[in-house]
Symmetry: D3
Subunit: 314 residues, 6 copies
């Protein structure tokens, strides 16, 4: 299959792509045409269907997968596909993983690692709480393993939430060896739960967009509430411990202006914020470097608020 | 009874006051004495017991009410009481309302007004939700009516939470007549519930200080969770309506830097934030003017970030 | 008449519209054409006159009203009118109120309400001051009743200044009943005068743009000066009262960064700032909701700095 | 005469000083005493009169000059005068300039220089405006020459306003030679008038404190209004020129957060802001260096927001 | 020669211009064409070569100078050149100064003035340091005289660094006469050296872009290091004097957020920051006025953060 | 030995302490006395010598160690020592490590670990550079091993710079395993060198205060310069590599407002900033917890900008 990121003017296109968006429009001369966005896991491309009523053009809509025949052109310096034929495909004709971004790491393996960390928690209440999410709650597990960690920024792919959670949790494990004043059980439990609200904040792929409750409440407050509910269902769960765990979740963005209603008051909350921030920045830079085409200066980056550069040292 | 705000150097003191704080200390010459803070509803004053082991000095501790005999002096420009005799009083000997700050408005009347607004809510789910708090939940009602709305700033007295809630709700009623695009049922329900988390954030008088969960979670998140729990217990409560109500509570501080994890996204949330802010500023200025001794410039005020002035126009 | 907001590709256009802007341009092939912006009270639309020298095209310029004959097309996804004939209309052929935005409320009625509030002012100096503007000064009254309250944001229509002033003043009346520490005469006078500088800051419609003195001095300073001049002309006007009134005007934006050279120092100035801010936000959200086409999320809003949502509760 | 800045513990005091402040107080033992602040042009010092009713102690109050006999002691590390005798002086017994801070430059000479710059203005309207203040208006001239430019910061002495105005104006003269795009007449007129509002914002020495109108309106708005009034009284004064001059005054603090209701829009306003800022910083550092006792690091300085250092290069 | 700023639709073009940028592209119909940016000292213009393979079109690339024959058209309201013939020129056929922006002041004269100021420095170490740069170091002198002071903002032309340095230094000379507490030798040396790091931060014209070390280290740190190296090479150079000079360079942007790692701690560093800021703002406004086509309001300016206006007073 | 942190009113004192500060003062009655600050590794305490001329009081000054005989009293709620006898000790009489704060970790062991990391660097230029500091430069090594990492905040003890450097470097080692896009050699070299400028910024204990060059230039710029010098001395050291290493040092505070003249542009610089920040926060919280006397709320903490709490989970 020819991937979208490799399209060059003059190329033939004869493969299946996902239709991400479709809109009817009119040319200056009053003729109708379709403006379509095609997508595969490497990116998206604009496409035009100038003869929407011709024989080879099926009825279709987003998010159908369609078999496209056409030609790559260039318009105003941007790549565009001139679509001659478009056939809507049936399920089974295509492999969905080619069309949606997926974590490069094995989902089963990552989940197994997460479970093994849960096994290592000593405090029985915290361990029980984690099990009630990650072992008992099948619906939650399904969502958690498929969710991305973001709509646009780092870890914005299927499995991204699991990958980010595991990475943050391991960083916290390292912190526990380096800074013995940290309470390992509390910190690791908070790390594993810190973003579980994202299972409700974002819908699954191919949509991967904010839900109503995501916009009204946000993953921080929803995650805090989810932990509160499960904890209340565990007999004898110490009230103060529950509050400290919820505090870690509320405070994990570190600053009010990043949406945390509380600043970190306990060392474990400070550590979780540092781990979350570290993984976000390291993954963002890694993704940025993966998308560069040549080393050297990459221009101004809004996230890092400066020009960024790809190091190459031999 | 002679009130603390009227103490002048040279005055005799022979009345009952609440002991807010008591600490043992040592003079330069190694002699033990007690440093005590006395309180009534008009303020607090430092007091010293130079002869703690003499006959007239009972054993007592905060928050006992004690019958004090002594003299008012001045030390480094501040008023101080030199205590000669101190007798611990029994319940019944004193009227507690003289020693703790209380709303100047009648608690029963304010509560009746609140209930009559609840009665006027048309949406059955929102009305049911309000009733489940303000009619059914006796423990909550007890706390809500006694709580202050703050530790130090505006409405920091018994009944302050009720008074502030009623004032904000009425302001919102006015908004509904002036701006018809507002949804009255949603806005008034949000106004009535916006600070209910304060019943858990602050302990009752005479302590009136932040609780553990108040510090770890804050009244915004706790109020949101309280509303969520009651709503889930009401059959058929529309999910989106619940989210919008919770959103109003989360967003009622208006800005991230004031501890709201969400900025107002719906017109009712914007209105609630404006009403809350207005009542806070108007009450703060009113309390400030009540504490002035003469009109004119009152010096720099941290809350208003400028010099403030008491207007007098005849 | 067919309103601009209803134009669809393929429509015929045969009505009178105001020419808001007209510019000569040249096609890639060197042919001259006119680029014109047409306007009615529902919005504006781009139009092209490809044959500017043909018989049916009159000489005209902004802000003429012209009788247009043409066709609606779509260019790059935007609506455009292809003008075939354009005739310049004489006064009397058209109703200006169809082409300029006007307050939905009756101007006479609003003004009568304002005058009745003025009548209620007790302090003779303040009442005299208001009368010298709103009863005696015909030129001022003419401007005040026609002015908008803004170029682009809330109340940006004919009568907008009057509507906003009345709304703020009524909010202040409500405040006076809720917060008795406020001085009613001073607050209402300040509310009525707070934006009178806008009669000089913005030119009238159809221009509705900043004047030179508007840009050099601003409505806050100009309004303060206008009040100062009228007050000095009233014998015996108390100096301190004049300063407090001017202070309310100077401080009504509340913060230095919003262009107020003083922060509110008196309770009336604080109240005026709250009322002005409240009306601005409520009206902005109301106008925003009036312009939505379907309920739900409306995307990011710069003024409210968040995604906004249109509530619909049945 | 022994100056206050030279007082050392153990010194005898037998000279005339100004009483800046006097307050009655009571010792721990209930004895009355007076707490007095003495002042001369080199600074202030705390003084105590432990026997206020003894023979040698006259009745007096601020701002009397009194003939003091006493001893310098040290209390908690600070210098204090123990006053034994205090006699109130009659006018004529003392030279006021010893007790109030005065510019080190000759007032007549500075004023002559200012007038000679005014003479050099070419534009007849601007020149007339300046003359109407600095030649015709005797009451204004009296105030302008005596005023300080500040209560606490730079140029806080008699003649300070004149000295600062002259220094800013000369800097602007230099700018005109270096940057020919500047309009000399407008810039110099604005420089000369930029702080005239301070003649009303601060009362004269020995008070040198903010007036009511100073606090309510501020010198920026008052100066703008003063210029507007004088300009309106000059026949034919061009309206736009008046606005630009007023704009320079309004914008001379450069930023909203420093109290300017407008940011500089014309090059002359930018230049005036730079000149004002430069003179403020250079004079502040100069005064700071004059008050140091030894070269090297002087500790953290709030105005410069860093540790400051006195350079000494041989 | 016809300058680019004077191009109007319909004009013939038959002159030599510099090619700043050249890119191959494809039309909607798949035909190749070249998109070229032409430049002279008055500006740049887009140009298209629709028949790149025709006889009259030479091979060429940026930054060649080419002899262009074509026609000026207008596309989407912007000027565009339709190139018919393009011949690559040889060195000697054209005068480079017509194609690159150059200071309007004579380079030799400015440099002579700088040397005469250096001659006036009294401190032998500072004088030696300046000579080691500006008299002895031929490679540095070559760069310094040709460099611009910026990529895009003020003084962005050949000789701009020299012009800016001279202007700042003279302003500092004026400061020394107005504020005698300043150390003239230190301040003038710092002024002359303050931007020498720009010789390494920006490459020379026609590139005039940031170098790698410019982006990694910045001219502030590089200038500080350059001064440190030269000073260490001068026997007996006082250590403290070196530190103070380096401090002036590090602190010359005045605030951390403008890239200075230290805030000014000595009066000379404060003065240098003021002079640098003044020259930047005055030159920016001067360049802005030179580029206006008619007096009056020029729209919003990002650098001055407000609408700007060209004064015209007759 | 009785440590200062354990002093209670009424205690006898009869041990050797370091004199940190000594000052002569005068009582209200004109009698001379000495105000002394005594120090051991657990803290400092005020002491008074009321009879400075009595027999038992030797001549001594800071930083002498003195044998003190006296009594602990309480003054205004603070502990104070009333010194009766004070004898100046000779070297050898006392163990200096009892009087100055020292890292709790073994200096030799930490240094060995640092050297073993240096050994693991693969790039020959970076390895050589590290060796030129940490193996070849004896004077540097001496300073580096004894320095603290701060005057007041975290790691403010002998060996603190080494401890902090090792901790940051190990965190970076962990990052290299978790984020393979990082260049290990560059990141670890930058980590080891990031604070070497502190060897010049702070003087050694017992002073541990900012030096002149520390205040004028700062450890960031000095460290960058030190690395530049050593790199230039290594033949063939790649220029770009040197710049990237210096960039990591310049950018390691992450933001302009924290004194970095550059923001991190390469992934290694981002990682170093995160590691430095993490170690600073974790160590600060650890030290804070070590200084608490009981678990629970510890009040407002300026560094963390919130109330902090000591977790205790059993």
């Amino acid at each position: 299959m020819k991937f979208i990121k490799d399209f060059k003017p003059g190329d033939r296109v004869a493969d299946i792509y996902m239709c991400k968006h479709k809109q009817s429009a009119t040319t200056k001369n009053g003729k109708e045409y379709y403006s379509v966005t095609l997508q595969d896991k490497t990116g998206t491309v604009d496409a035009k269907i100038w003869e929407p009523n011709s024989d080879g053009i099926d009825e279709f809509d987003a998010p159908d997968c369609i078999d496209v025949f056409g030609e790559v052109t260039s318009f105003n310096g941007a790549i565009q596909v001139n679509v001659k034929r478009a056939r809507k495909c049936r399920e089974g004709e295509f492999d969905l993983s080619l069309y949606l971004p997926v974590s490069s790491k094995d989902n089963n393996e990552m989940y197994a690692q997460l479970l093994s960390i849960i096994k290592s928690i000593g405090n029985p209440y915290l361990k029980r709480l984690l099990e009630s999410f990650f072992i008992d709650d099948k619906a939650f597990i399904e969502l958690f393993r498929k969710s991305s960690a973001a709509k646009t920024v780092h870890h914005g792919f299927i499995g991204g939430l699991l990958e980010h959670t595991l990475s943050v949790t391991r960083l916290c494990e390292y912190f526990c060896t380096a800074y013995p004043a940290l309470n390992r059980d509390l910190l690791l439990t908070a790390a594993i739960c810190h973003d579980i609200g994202k299972t409700k904040e974002l819908s699954l792929f191919p949509i991967n967009d904010y839900t109503d409750e995501g916009q009204f409440l946000g993953h921080i407050v929803m995650g805090c509430e989810m932990v509160g509910e499960k904890a209340r269902a565990i007999e004898g769960f110490p009230e103060l411990l529950k509050q400290q765990l919820q505090h870690c979740i509320l405070a994990h963005h570190g600053e009010y202006e990043y949406g945390s209603p509380k600043k970190p008051s306990i060392m474990e909350a400070v550590a979780l914020n540092l781990a979350d921030n570290t993984d976000a920045k390291m993954e963002t830079f890694t993704e940025l470097l993966q998308n560069t085409t040549e080393p050297g200066w990459q221009g101004f980056n809004k996230f890092f608020e400066t020009n960024v550069y790809q190091t190459k040292i031999d």
